[in-house]
Every structure is written in structure tokens, then in C-alpha cells.
């Protein structure tokens, strides 16, 4: 267990360092000069020089990189170009919103996608299975803004059931009313992300369930006289879950991408929208911080996925 975690974490750390390094150097290649965005022409040359120094922009590229790494170890991500707040504060304001969205979506996708996948596998080749397969193909192929537009058109414009954007109606209300307000605002973004993610879970669950149901030990279970629900629950489900869990872990990268578009469309104040805004404002330090958070969360999810798989499949030895 210990050595597994150690190996897994060192690989994760490597992923994070690679991701952070790639972003650092790519961002420095941006054609526009951040100094000119940052500095008000009315400032005197001394103030300008002081500001350039404050952001470390007077140093060479390798020096800036090592300063950045040094700051990273101390939990210091630098200052935002745009409003000169510490990047870590900017990120911490946005992160809970994205986590809320992703958490709701992952839980819903698993809770609804797994039973549908199992059902499709049991009805393999029948009409219900074909219908589910058709919907899944659509779900995998759908363009996230299209879903978002469709939901906005039906539920916000036509039926006027849900708000069109934001995470709450300003000014924020007090107590229970605030939570209800946030929940109402989160329905459409969650629904959008849910629809684009649940399809792949259904697909993998169905395919792996079909594989498992063809195994000899399932025939043995039927031969013992067990009925179908029991066979599926006690013999097939755990084994069929393994590929599905792997896919859910790998999906995090794609989900984050979908979150950028979803959050942009619904004006959701999360990390995805922050990335979009920071690209337009060319705010490197914030972008760097956002990518660090993304890389860390993807790695973290992958480690959790591996642990769940090891729990599902005792043959996988964590120590080995």
C-alpha cells in the first residue's frame, strides 16, 4: 500500500511539474507584452520600473522560472496582473464553485449512468438497448455549447423556469434562501455537463457488463439456480465496474474542458471561466495558478480512481 501510493504520487508529481513547466514557457511566448497592459501611461518611469521589478519581469526567463518554482514550494503563486491580488486568493474564490459543479455532475453521472448501462447490457440487442446506444452516440458527439443553448432556450427563455446565468442573484440572500437560489442557478450548468459526461459512463458500463455476463463464472452462478438480479448484483457488477471507474478518472481532463465552455456560457464564477477571462486579459500568474490547480485535481482524481479499482479488484496488489 505504502509503496503503491509512493509510486503513484511520484508519477503524479511528475505530471504536475511537466504541466506547470509547459504552461510557464508557453505563457512567456505570448506575443503581447504584459508590461504594457499592466502599466498606466500616466505613471512615471520610476513607478513603472518598480512595478516591473515587483512582478519579477526584469529577470531572465530561467531566473523567472526558478523564482516561480521557489514561490510554488512556499505556496506563493505570485500576484495577479489584473487586480494585483495574490493569485492564491483569486483561485480560492473560484475553486469552490467549480468543485460544486463537478461534484454534483460526477455523482449524478455515476448514479444514473451505471444503472442505465447495466439495464442496456441485460437487454442487449433489444429495442431498449438500441435506443440507449443511439442516445449514447449522440451524447458522446454533442457539442457542449449546443446543449447549453438548447437548455437555455427551453428552460430559461421559453419556460422561464431557471435563470440564464450567474451563480446567485445579487445581492446574495441570507440563510436558506441563498442556498435555494444557488441550487436554482446550478441546475442548467450541471444538466449540460451531466448530459455530455453520462454518455461515456453508460457506454463503458454496458460494454464491460456484456463482457462480464459472457464469463464462465456467471454461467456457473446461473447453474446454481440464482436469479438474474442476484447474479448481477453479487457476481457481475463489481467486475464490470472496473473499466467504468477507470474511464471516470480519465474523464476529468475532458470534464474540465467542458467546464470552461459551460462556465463561460452560464457566467458561472468558477475556474473555467477564470481561465477564459485571464486569457483575454493576458494575466499569466492567474493562468499559471489555474493550470496548477487543474493538474493537481486531475492527478488527485487518478490516484483516487486507482484506489477504488484496487478495492474493487483484490487481484491488483497495491504493494506489488
Amino acid at each position: 500500500m505504502g509503496s503503491f501510493l509512493f509510486r503513484r504520487m511520484s508519477k503524479g508529481l511528475l505530471t504536475i511539474i511537466v504541466s506547470v513547466t509547459i504552461t510557464f514557457f508557453i505563457l512567456r511566448l505570448m506575443p503581447a507584452d504584459p508590461v504594457s497592459i499592466l502599466i498606466d501611461p500616466k505613471m512615471g518611469p520610476e513607478v513603472q520600473a518598480q512595478m516591473i521589478k515587483r512582478f519579477g519581469l526584469d529577470k531572465s526567463l530561467p531566473e523567472q522560472y526558478f523564482m516561480f518554482l521557489k514561490g510554488l514550494i512556499h505556496g506563493d503563486l505570485g500576484l495577479s496582473f489584473k487586480n494585483q491580488q495574490p493569485v492564491i486568493d483569486v483561485l480560492m474564490q473560484k475553486l469552490p464553485w467549480t468543485l460544486l459543479l463537478l461534484f454534483v455532475v460526477v455523482i449524478l453521472s455515476l448514479a444514473i449512468g451505471i444503472p442505465i448501462g447495466v439495464y442496456a447490457a441485460r437487454k442487449q440487442g433489444k429495442f431498449a438497448d438500441k435506443l440507449i446506444n443511439f442516445l449514447v452516440t449522440l451524447g458522446i458527439s454533442v457539442f457542449v455549447p449546443f446543449l447549453a443553448f438548447g437548455f437555455l432556450y427551453i428552460f430559461a427563455y421559453f419556460l422561464k423556469l431557471f435563470p440564464t446565468g450567474g451563480a446567485y442573484t445579487p445581492p446574495p440572500k441570507q440563510g436558506i434562501a441563498y442556498y435555494i437560489d444557488v441550487a436554482r442557478h446550478s441546475v442548467l450548468p450541471s444538466l449540460t455537463l451531466f448530459c455530455s459526461n453520462v454518455a461515456s459512463i453508460v457506454l463503458y458500463m454496458r460494454n464491460s457488463m456484456i463482457d462480464v455476463l459472457g464469463e464462465d463464472y456467471i454461467r456457473t452462478a446461473y447453474a446454481k439456480g440464482l436469479n438474474e438480479p442476484l447474479v448481477i448484483k453479487h457476481h457481475a457488477l463489481k467486475n464490470a465496474l472496473i473499466p467504468t471507474v477507470t474511464v471516470t478518472g480519465l474523464m476529468m481532463g475532458t470534464m474540465v474542458g467542458g467546464a470552461v465552455m459551460t462556465e463561460t456560457i452560464f457566467a458561472w464564477p468558477g475556474v473555467g471561466r477564470l481561465i477564459y477571462d485571464s486569457v483575454s486579459a493576458m494575466d499569466y500568474p492567474v493562468l499559471q495558478g489555474a493550470f496548477l490547480i487543474l493538474a493537481v485535481s486531475v492527478v488527485f482524481m487518478n490516484i483516487i480512481t486507482d484506489l477504488i479499482i484496487a478495492w474493487l479488484d483484490p487481484r491488483i496488489k497495491l504493494g506489488g
Binding site: K11, L14, T15, V18, S19, I22, T23, I26, L27, L29, M30, P31, T137, L138, I140, S141, V142, F143, V144, P145, F146, F149, G150, L152, Y153, A156, Y157, T164, I210, D211, G214, L250, G253, T254, V256, G257, G258, V260, M261, T264, I265, G272, I275, Y276, V279, S280, M282, L287, A290, F291, L294, A295, V298, V299, N302
Partner: protein, 282 residues
């Protein structure tokens, strides 16, 4: 030859593959012959925000341009972008997969770790940043998409190569003293073509999703008609939630994106079924 003929026989009899092929053919025809089919939409016109009618089957936008023409020219852009992206992905991914699968050992595991790391990177946000850096020419965007599409292709190539390289005819080829590069790029490559082809159709599909996403976020080429660009213009003009509501403006480009992606996806699934008939029988 016999083999090839039976592939086509199965292809025609597989309805999924055939439907995918027809869809792909429609898009390729629209894309290649766009200038012959309809004039490139330019400038502005008097018919602003007209709903679909006989003159304008898909309606017009807020500049009075024909949305049907925009969508057809968008097919051209999508085809161009996915072709370049796939080309880049093949150039990097296939050799990487072949070499890491054949060589195993140190080089193999290094390439494999690189594939692993690239697969876990949050791709769209990285593409956004790079697209912002390299500037919004459609070719640049396509190359950026290709650079992030190779890992899945490399993984598929590697897995098939691992299987093939254990086979006896490869051993025989080694004994005959055939040079290594010739074994890798001729004998193995020919035999991993199937799964690689399936993955290429999937890369074609995701490339268009990425391009539309980037264009939608305003990082595409504003001078070229692409489905994402049309959606961005519609969104910026408030076509989704404002009254009056020109739904046709965002609906048709979105439908074409879905049509494109579904066509390539089911073509891939169809080819996969033909190559592995066992999937059907189970």
C-alpha cells in the same frame, strides 16, 4: 486481393459503417465543393434575421447573411482543420506508438510515460492558451489540435504493436536479417492499420469539437467561416436568450457539428465491428 474484396463486402453489409460513410461523404462533398455550391457569405445584406424560408432555408443572421451558406463554408473549414490535425497526430503518434511497442525496454517505457502524462493533461485549457499565443490563423489552430491529439493514437498503435511484435512472422523477419526500420514501418505498420484507422476517425471527430470550442471561445480565425465562429457570433448577439429569438442562427451550425461528429464516430464503430466480428456475435 481476396481479403480486400471481403472487407468491402462486409462494409456494405454493415449498416452502421455504411451510414457513417454516407454522412462522411456528404460532409466531404459539401466541404470540397462549397465554392461551387454557394457563394461565400461576405459583407452584409438587407434581409436581417429572417426566419427559415424558401429563399433562405436556414434563415439569415444579424448582418443579413445566408446561414445556409455560412454552414456549408463551415464544413470546408472543419474538414480542413480535422485533416491537418489528423495529419499532425499521425506524424507524431504512429511512429511513437510503433517504436515504443516494438522496442519495449527503456525507450518504450519513456515514450509510454510521455503518452500517459499527455493523456492526463487538461487538453482544452492548454489549447486555449496555445491558440492565444500562436495567434488565430486556422492552420495554427489545426496544428495545435493535432499536437494534442497524438497521444490516443500513439496508445492504440502501441497496444496493437505489442501484440503483433510477438507473432511468429515478425520473428521470422528478424531471422531473415531484415533491417529493424523495415520491420517496424512495413511489416508491423501494415498489420496495425485496422485499429489505427478506427482511432483516426475518432480523432477527426474530436478535432472538430476542439476547433468549434476554440472558435466559440473567440480563439479561432475570425476571417474564416467555421461552425464555432457562427455560434460565437450568435451567442455574442444574444440570439439564445433575448427576445426576439432567432433560434435558427445557433441551431443549424450546432446540428452540423453533431452530424459531423456522429458520422465519423459511427464510421469508426462500424469499421471496428467489421475488423472484430466477435463483438457482434457475443
Amino acid at each position: 486481393m481476396e481479403n480486400r474484396r471481403s472487407f468491402f463486402k462486409y462494409f456494405i453489409s454493415n449498416r452502421l459503417a455504411l451510414a457513417g460513410l454516407i454522412g462522411v461523404a456528404i460532409i466531404i462533398i459539401l466541404g470540397l465543393f462549397a465554392p461551387a455550391i454557394i457563394e461565400q457569405p461576405k459583407g452584409y445584406g438587407p434581409d436581417i434575421l429572417l426566419p427559415p424560408s424558401i429563399n433562405y432555408p436556414f434563415g439569415t443572421d444579424n448582418l443579413g447573411l445566408n446561414i445556409l451558406a455560412e454552414v456549408i463554408w463551415g464544413a470546408r473549414t472543419s474538414l480542413y482543420v480535422s485533416a491537418i490535425a489528423v495529419g499532425v497526430a499521425i506524424i507524431i503518434g504512429v511512429p511513437a506508438g510503433l517504436i515504443s511497442g516494438y522496442k519495449k525496454g527503456f525507450i518504450g517505457s519513456i515514450i509510454d510515460s510521455i503518452i500517459d502524462i499527455f493523456l492526463t493533461l487538461p487538453v482544452l485549457p492548454l489549447m486555449i492558451v496555445i491558440a492565444a499565443v500562436v495567434g488565430s490563423s486556422i492552420t495554427n489552430v489545426a496544428i495545435v489540435i493535432g499536437i494534442f491529439s497524438w497521444p490516443s493514437l500513439a496508445r492504440v498503435t502501441r497496444n496493437s504493436t505489442l501484440k503483433i511484435s510477438e507473432m511468429q512472422f515478425i520473428e521470422a523477419a528478424k531471422c531473415l536479417g531484415i533491417p529493424q526500420y523495415s520491420i517496424i514501418f512495413k511489416h508491423i505498420l501494415l498489420n496495425v492499420m485496422g485499429p489505427v484507422l478506427v482511432n483516426i476517425t475518432l480523432v477527426m471527430a474530436t478535432a472538430v469539437l476542439s476547433e468549434s470550442g476554440l472558435s466559440f471561445l473567440g480563439l479561432g480565425d475570425p476571417t474564416t467561416w467555421s461552425w464555432g465562429t457562427i455560434l460565437k457570433k450568435a451567442w455574442d448577439a444574444g440570439a439564445v436568450i433575448d427576445t426576439p429569438n432567432p433560434w435558427w442562427w445557433w441551431f443549424w451550425p450546432s446540428v452540423f457539428i453533431v452530424f459531423y461528429v456522429v458520422s465519423f464516430n459511427i464510421l469508426g464503430t462500424g469499421i471496428n465491428e467489421i475488423l472484430n466480428p466477435k463483438i457482434n456475435k457475443k
